[in-house]
């Protein structure tokens, strides 16, 4: 299959390109940029006039819910959602049932994803067996099975010695450890940011220090062990400050934020809207502004969907009992664009946060359009407006705090490995 994508505005952040250029795809690879390779006769020509052509999006956190939670979502439904959102590579956290703590489970997931032939799936292995925070997993075996990093998802890892050993062991092999900073004792049964809204609504609070106390512990251990640490879903202004400080002191940490936390605040809980029940909790407008600025300045490297499909039954119950999480794969691109527009960031810089920056954190060769690279491409209309109708989302999770909102930027084509896997 040879595809010629012509007249599009090609934006390739890694190569510093933002210009009208044609893209040529052959044998699953980028065959040429700007100039037609010799002897290239396309089977299909895509007229991308007025459209943006960019690397397929790379998402650092998308829960596919397999194995174990197929009633919430299936690999099939979520992979369709991914490519509809222009996402061509995604990392899935290990909090499945059972957790991704054995090579066999990881191989099975990779295999099932491969035969669907849509987005590339990169499992993140469990850092401890059963995510119980007690015994290390066979990290090297998991790597051989296809894991690109190790994490504890949202499960508490309270034993500091276990955390240090896990980091030491990962550092032995140069593996990357992804940690979401949160002190489980300070969270306890909290369900919302411990601030004005939780006080008013009578919801159990999660203070911002739950994040900063944990961050301090992780940063000290990262320095001590030399492990490569990626910090997931920072949520507070103080957290952003601590990450900036650590980077300034030369600690090789990276950091991401979810699309939800870049737009929403505790106020969006409104009258107990369980769609705004998220992990970590939505914090104050000041925290949100610090996250937006941190993403702009580079303290925060990447933007992710933190895609978490939840079934209706788990949301149609009182806020405090409801399951946390929001669907996100189909919203990652428009929300990245919205952030860029609102923060005066160039399209190139915005797309970097969802393409080559997360690819670098994952350690994969993706998120760019260099000749010879795997042809994972997203073609979108930057000016198309659409309304978020939960029922119309392809993800099985219809839970989103953005329901009813107008989004700008709609995917027209998604190519994975040179094949058109989505077309609208």
């Amino acid at each position: 299959m040879k595809i010629h994508i012509k007249n599009g505005r090609l934006v390739d952040p890694q190569n510093g390109v933002d210009a009208v250029r044609d893209l040529y795809v052959a044998a699953g690879k980028i065959a040429g940029v700007g100039s037609r390779p010799g002897g290239f006769t396309p089977n299909r020509v895509i007229d991308a006039t007025g459209l943006v052509v960019c690397p397929g999006l790379v998402d650092l956190a998308a829960r596919l819910r397999e194995p174990g939670f197929e009633y919430k979502a299936t690999l099939e439904s979520e992979m369709r959602a991914a490519v509809a959102g222009g996402v061509t590579s995604l990392a899935c956290p290990p909090d499945t049932d059972p957790p991704l703590d054995e090579p066999g489970l990881v191989e099975m997931l990779k295999y099932k994803a491969k035969i669907l032939n849509q987005a590339h799936v990169y499992p993140v292995g469990a850092l401890t067996q059963g995510l119980k925070g007690e015994r290390l997993t066979e990290m090297a075996e998991l790597r051989d099975a296809g894991c690109i990093a190790y994490s504890h998802a949202d499960e508490p890892l309270t034993d500091t010695l276990v955390l240090m050993r896990a980091l030491q062991y990962a550092a032995t092999f140069g593996f990357s450890v992804w940690l979401r900073p949160e002190d489980a004792f300070l969270v306890r049964r909290g369900v919302a940011h411990d601030g004005e809204v939780a006080a008013r609504l009578g919801l159990a609070g999660i203070p911002a220090v739950a994040e900063t106390v944990a961050l301090a512990r992780i940063l000290q251990l990262a320095r001590e062990t030399g492990a490569r640490v990626h910090l997931c879903r920072v949520s507070s202004a103080e957290g952003v400050d601590m990450v900036r400080g650590a980077k300034e002191r030369g600690l090789p940490v990276s950091c991401d934020v979810s699309i939800n936390h870049v737009y929403l605040s505790e106020m969006d809980i409104g009258f107990f809207d369980s769609n705004a029940h998220l992990i970590p909790p939505l914090r104050t407008a000041r925290d949100r502004d610090a996250l937006r600025e941190g993403l702009r300045s580079g303290t925060i490297d990447a933007l992710c969907s933190d895609h978490t499909p939840v079934d209706d039954d788990a949301k149609q119950i009182p806020f405090g009992e409801s399951e946390a999480g929001a669907t996100g794969l189909e919203l990652l691109l428009p929300l990245a664009l919205k952030w860029a527009e609102e923060c005066g960031v160039s399209l190139q810089q915005a797309l970097a946060k969802v393409t080559h920056a997360p690819a670098r954190i994952m350690g994969i060769d993706a998120g760019h359009l260099s000749p010879g690279a795997t042809a994972d491409v997203c073609v979108f209309d930057p000016d198309a407006w659409w309304r978020v109708e939960p029922g119309a989302l392809l993800s099985q999770g219809k839970n989103t705090p953005f329901a009813g909102l107008e989004m700008r930027g709609q995917v027209r084509f998604t190519l994975v490995g040179g094949h058109i896997v989505f077309e609208a």
Binding site: E196, A199, G202, F272, P318, E321
Partner: protein
């Protein structure tokens, strides 16, 4: 974001879920209506036919005797049919979801639900789920709100103090876990009380409580100085088990209402408590049974206030086609 479901488009009360966001005239209307019912509760025949033929479901997902009973009495004095359901012991343990329970009861033609639930916000979920014309009264949800308690407190304050606009009111105790306190703060500020104080150790105050418009005191003697009204809160024994407080004895010494501490308030200050009281923990018997205590009148007024809320809500129903 979802809209506030308790007022309809014309600003009429459809449900009573929280005091927050209610206009002052709505609160005043409830208090005035309650005043007209106080007479009824003192008559020999304590019934009026306002809610005849209406089915009211007392839906208690959390055990309560006192509140449920006062709602039941209020509904019966309005001639409604009352059904009491203690759900904590029936369908929830069988795994039926909250909204399934509501659907089933709605199918039995309920006109009004009185809901108590351990989770903050549960009555909102129910109110949003019901078809128009069926009303919900929040009888206490988690730590969030207990609007009829706050209204009966306001009734009591108005009864003894006549006006709200010159008062200094102190709320003392476990504000962190108290739905009563949250509703009281909103009611007091909506009705124009210029100075609302809260008195508690830091472990029993919600984060950023001052954003609710209250002055924070940790020293009770200071907090009670020259106040007109003291609203005591119940301290549950389980609070001693975590790391919130060291002991009931120490709590009583520093935050229990004793005659000594009450002497700091104005001589005509009144003392209130939502009940049930823990004598010797948050309040000394000498105060609870003393001349400044209006704790028992609170209970009596509570029935009239609940009658008022029910009748106002029922009056707001759209008339049925064949009526």
């Amino acid at each position: 974001m979802q809209a506030n479901p308790q007022l309809d488009k014309e600003g009429k009360l459809q449900h009573l879920l929280s005091i927050e966001g209610l206009p002052a005239p709505v609160l005043t209307q409830i208090l005035d209506t309650a005043a007209s019912f106080v007479g009824v509760t003192e008559r020999e025949v304590k019934k009026v036919p306002l809610l005849r033929g209406k089915a009211i479901f007392n839906l208690f997902f959390e055990p309560s005797t006192r509140t449920r009973t006062t709602f039941e009495i209020a509904a019966k004095r309005l001639s409604a049919d009352v059904v009491n359901l203690n759900i904590s012991t029936s369908s929830q343990t069988k795994g039926e979801s909250l909204l399934d329970t509501i659907d089933n009861l709605s199918a039995m033609h309920a006109d009004m639900f009185i809901v108590r639930h351990a989770e903050s916000g549960a009555p909102y979920l129910i109110a949003r789920h019901l078809r128009p014309g069926i009303h919900v009264i929040n009888a206490g949800d988690g730590r969030h709100a207990h609007p009829t308690q706050a209204l009966l407190d306001m009734y009591t304050i108005r009864h003894y103090k006549k006006e709200f606009r010159d008062l200094r009111v102190a709320i003392v105790g476990d504000l962190l876990h108290s739905r009563v306190a949250r509703s009281q703060v909103h009611a007091l500020s909506i009705l124009g009380v210029p100075e609302i104080r809260v008195v508690a150790p830091k472990t029993l105050l919600p984060a950023q409580v001052e954003r609710l418009g209250v002055h924070v005191f940790h020293d009770m003697a200071e907090g009670l100085r020259d106040v007109d009204v003291v609203l005591m809160l119940r301290l549950q024994n389980e609070r001693m088990q975590g790391a919130l407080l060291p002991s009931a004895q120490e709590y009583f010494k520093y935050y229990g209402l004793t005659p000594d501490k009450l002497a700091r308030a104005r001589p005509d200050a009144i003392v209130m408590h939502p009940g049930p009281m823990n004598r010797g923990v948050e309040i000394d018997s000498a105060v609870a049974d003393g001349p400044q205590s209006v704790i028992l009148p609170q209970v009596t007024f509570g029935i009239a206030v609940r009658m008022a809320v029910m009748s106002i809500l029922a009056g707001s129903s759209p008339p049925a086609a064949n009526d």
